[in-house]
């Protein structure tokens, strides 16, 4: 398990996604943690010290695990970069083609019915008003 700073973590995460394109999965786990053991936490609570919480992020491809922790200040910057990484790599998911295909299939299968009532998203041709 390799602990990294947020930016190197993102770089490693990017390469994980690249490596796992043909086969494999990428797991990303988010956890709320104080990075202290339970005993230490209880001690700090009884002494009245405020425990600093962080957001722990882990990523693995099944073989290698990388991890980073974010403070309340870091998280917004990280979440923007993280979103960019995800958007760049998660492009194997299906777009809304199914609905269009279903609609065209229905239209083809039912030539008898005059109008297809489920055509809410088809753009209507705009007629210019004269």
């Amino acid at each position: 398990m390799v602990h990294l700073q947020p930016d190197p973590f993102l770089n490693e995460l990017t390469s994980m996604y690249e490596r796992s394109k043909e086969k494999g999965s990428v797991w990303v786990t988010l956890k709320h943690s104080s990075m202290k053991s339970k005993a230490k936490r209880k001690k700090m609570e009884t002494e009245g010290e405020t425990i600093e919480y962080r957001c722990l992020v882990r990523a693995t491809d099944g073989k290698k695990t990388i991890t980073t922790s974010l403070s309340a200040k870091d998280h917004q910057k990280f979440q923007a970069s993280y979103a960019t990484v995800l958007k760049a790599h998660m492009n194997a998911l299906k777009k809304r083609e199914r609905r269009d295909k279903k609609r065209t299939a229905e239209v083809e299968q039912k030539p008898a019915s005059s109008k297809n009532p489920v055509s809410s998203k088809k753009p209507l041709p705009t007629k210019p008003l004269l």
Binding site: Y17, S20, K21, E22, K23, G24, S25, V26, W27, V28, T29, L30, K31, H32, S33, Y53, R54, C55, L56, L70, S71, A72, D74, H75, Q76, F78, Q79, Y82, A83, L86, K87, H89, M90, N91, A92, L93, K94, K95, R96
Partner: protein, 103 residues
């Protein structure tokens, strides 16, 4: 496995689950490019909520959920998420309106 069909239900229940036990709860995301599948899991090691999808539109919704969880986990379970950026701006505007005087 407890797969939830409705996205909104998944979001609501997972935030509740996290707030109930922030020390034990975690949010896991698994992505398989070769299968084009995305699975989300929120668990507190007692109860488990999962959501799976192969739709690109769900990836966009997941980004918002990611923001929510980042905020909750970095700032603490009592953090005011209010859908993060959306409603926070509204709150800021509301406070500005309160301060200004209209003559």
């Amino acid at each position: 496995m407890v797969y939830i069909a409705s996205w909104d239900e998944f979001v609501e229940r997972s935030v509740q689950l996290f707030r109930a036990d922030p020390q034990a709860s975690r949010y896991v995301m698994k992505y398989r490019h070769c299968d084009g599948k995305l699975v989300l899991k929120v668990t507190d090691n007692r109860e488990c909520l999962k959501f799976k999808t192969d739709q690109a539109q769900d990836a966009k919704k997941m980004e918002k959920l990611n923001n929510i969880f980042f905020t909750l986990m970095a700032r603490g379970p009592d953090a005011d998420i209010s859908e993060v950026s959306g409603k926070e701006q509204v709150e800021q505007q509301a406070s500005k309106k309160g301060r200004g005087r209209r003559q």
